[in-house]
């Protein structure tokens, strides 16, 4: 199936969408306390795209991210991730889906007791590859520039290095979809920039889709698309330039995107 190009700036990859959301509604709570947090979301994300999702807090960004990441079960509408319909799946099947997704969190969430390589190997072990896990871990760590830090424990790594290990962990199984939640929030400007550049390279090289929630205006320029979510509704879906035009000069300094 060929997805219609929904954005002006999407690259000319017209293969099957990695994520296809149709009329997705989501509610928290039950009975009288039932509260709708997502309203009629429809969205297509294509391989090789980096999509940034922004929006005020409470707008439902994280909820949407966790639904796409098979961390919550959607009940209403349609949510296809890498060709697999998630609506109506049981817990066990959701766990299976998650194994094919790379997750990057705001906190690195690395085990302090494990070395960088061992933390990455934990992800490799999910594929059952015990023999080659060390090699795979070291390879991916060299790709994020940490070859010589493979046997360091997180306590001996800087914040940026730790986040790069976390990225290596997310990427080691070569997922076609990467979900990132504020990956630069805990990092200084330079480390944050390094991390997103790295993600950009990997997206281009491996052709994977990256969906990133961020408030960090310094990194908006890496995006192919910027989706703005307000009060659970898709407010806008634009290229970074359009986004800047529509939001500047009130809230954004355009110079930020020049570097």
């Amino acid at each position: 199936m060929t997805a219609p190009s929904t954005t002006p700036s999407s690259p000319p990859v017209a293969a099957e969408a990695s994520i296809q959301v149709r009329n997705l509604n989501y509610f928290f709570g039950k009975g009288d306390l039932r509260k709708q947090v997502l309203y009629d979301i429809s969205l297509d994300l294509h391989p090789g795209q980096i999509v940034i999702m922004t929006g005020p807090s409470g707008s439902g960004k994280t909820t949407l991210l966790t639904l796409i990441g098979a961390l919550r079960s959607a009940t209403d509408g349609s949510l296809r991730v890498m060709g697999q319909e998630l609506v109506g799946l049981g817990n066990r099947q959701l766990v299976e889906i998650r194994r094919n997704i790379g997750f990057i969190f705001q906190a690195h969430n690395l085990f302090e007791s494990l070395t960088a390589a061992q933390n990455v190997e934990m992800a490799v072990e999910l594929t059952g590859n015990f023999r080659g896990k060390r090699q795979q871990a070291v390879d991916i760590l060299s790709q994020v520039g940490l070859a010589e830090r493979a046997d360091y424990k997180p306590a001996a790594l800087s914040g940026g290095q730790k986040q790069r290990v976390a990225i290596a962990r997310a990427l080691v199984n070569q997922p076609q979809l990467i979900l990132a939640d504020e990956p630069t929030a805990a990092l200084d400007k330079q480390s944050g920039r390094d991390v997103v550049t790295l993600m950009q390279h990997l997206a281009q090289e491996k052709g994977c889709t990256i969906l990133m929630v961020t408030h960090d205006n310094r990194i908006l320029d890496v995006a192919d698309r910027i989706i703005n979510l307000v009060d659970g509704r898709l407010e806008s879906d634009e290229s970074p330039q359009q986004f800047v035009d529509s939001h500047a000069p009130k809230s954004l300094d355009q110079k930020m995107f020049i570097m």
Binding site: L65, T66, I101, F105, E112, M122, R131, D181
Partner: protein, 390 residues
Amino acid sequence: MRRTPLALLNLTHDRKKFLTSMAGVAFAVLLMFLFTGFKNALYDSQTQLLSRLNGDVVIINRLKENMFVPRAFARRRLYQAQAFDGVEGAYAIYISDARWKNPDTRKTRPVRVIAYNPSDPVLPMPEVLARQQDLRLPNTALIDERSRAEVGPRETGVITELADREIRVVGTFSLGTDFASGNGNLIMSDQNFLRFFANRGPEEEERSFATADIGLLELAPGTEVDRLVSALRDGLPQDVLVLPMNGPEGFIARERTYWEENTNIGFVFSLLTTMGFVVGIILVYQILYTDVADHWSEYATLKAIGYDNAYLFGVVIQEAVILSVLGFIPGLLISNLFYNLGAAVTGLLFQMTLQRVVNIYIMTFIMCLISGAIAVRKVQRTDPAEVFGL
């Protein structure tokens, strides 16, 4: 290459915390060992003299319910028993309590005197056999070197007073105390027993060779003990009780059962052991829960990237099992020290048998499993979606 040993690494990562955890488990193990140790020591000690006696069948006064009851029986019953087929030897043992004067402090303490004809093989302990000739001299005795410290120096050459009469220690042996032994044990010849206990004055019971406290029968090889015991029961007057030495209905088992059933030792120490067990559960639960709580976001991340509950359950249970092993070893070693110390101070018999070690390990293992099962619920409930937006 196998799975990353996450459980082991998480436990041992923080050395200080790991040592504290191990100490916690070791402490619970120590409590359980001490309390079961005291219980067993009190029971085992009651039979340590009996199990050294050399005989297959025992004759005692029917009223002598346990070793604490000073009831003697007519010695002629022994001669009567000797007439039965298969009885090779019949030996009389005379037992009495007497005041022993500590030669250093001049204070008197009750001790138990065990007397018999030195030519009879009643207590075939090498250090006793070696002193047979010395025991025949007047006013001599052997002293139990595991008597309590209150009796003073427990060594050859001590001269002091027993029942207000001078006594000379000509050797030592190793036995240990029990409820009926007072502060220690002496072994002397039957002749000396008469010297000390035949005329002790108006308030004390007079002893003679007419009565004995325990009769030992040695059987000819190949004699069936049970058959002989029933023959003796039928043939001897009903004032004596005939018991086999060993076996579930035997003299030794009877003594042990008496103390088990007629004292609160079992209840008290079982209760204390259970408390040690519960303390252990709480300690291990704290350790495991802290680990889970400290690594909550990491465990949630594992769940997010595709590990299932069974894996996380496995990690916590592995931690519990590792703790049970690593805490048990120091616990066992320290308990062993305490057992030796306890034996030296009290004269009770502290036995660290393989069976008891295995039992306590099983208890430790169950203790850790219970704690692990409680702590693991925290991980099971972890919602991986919550890792986002933290």
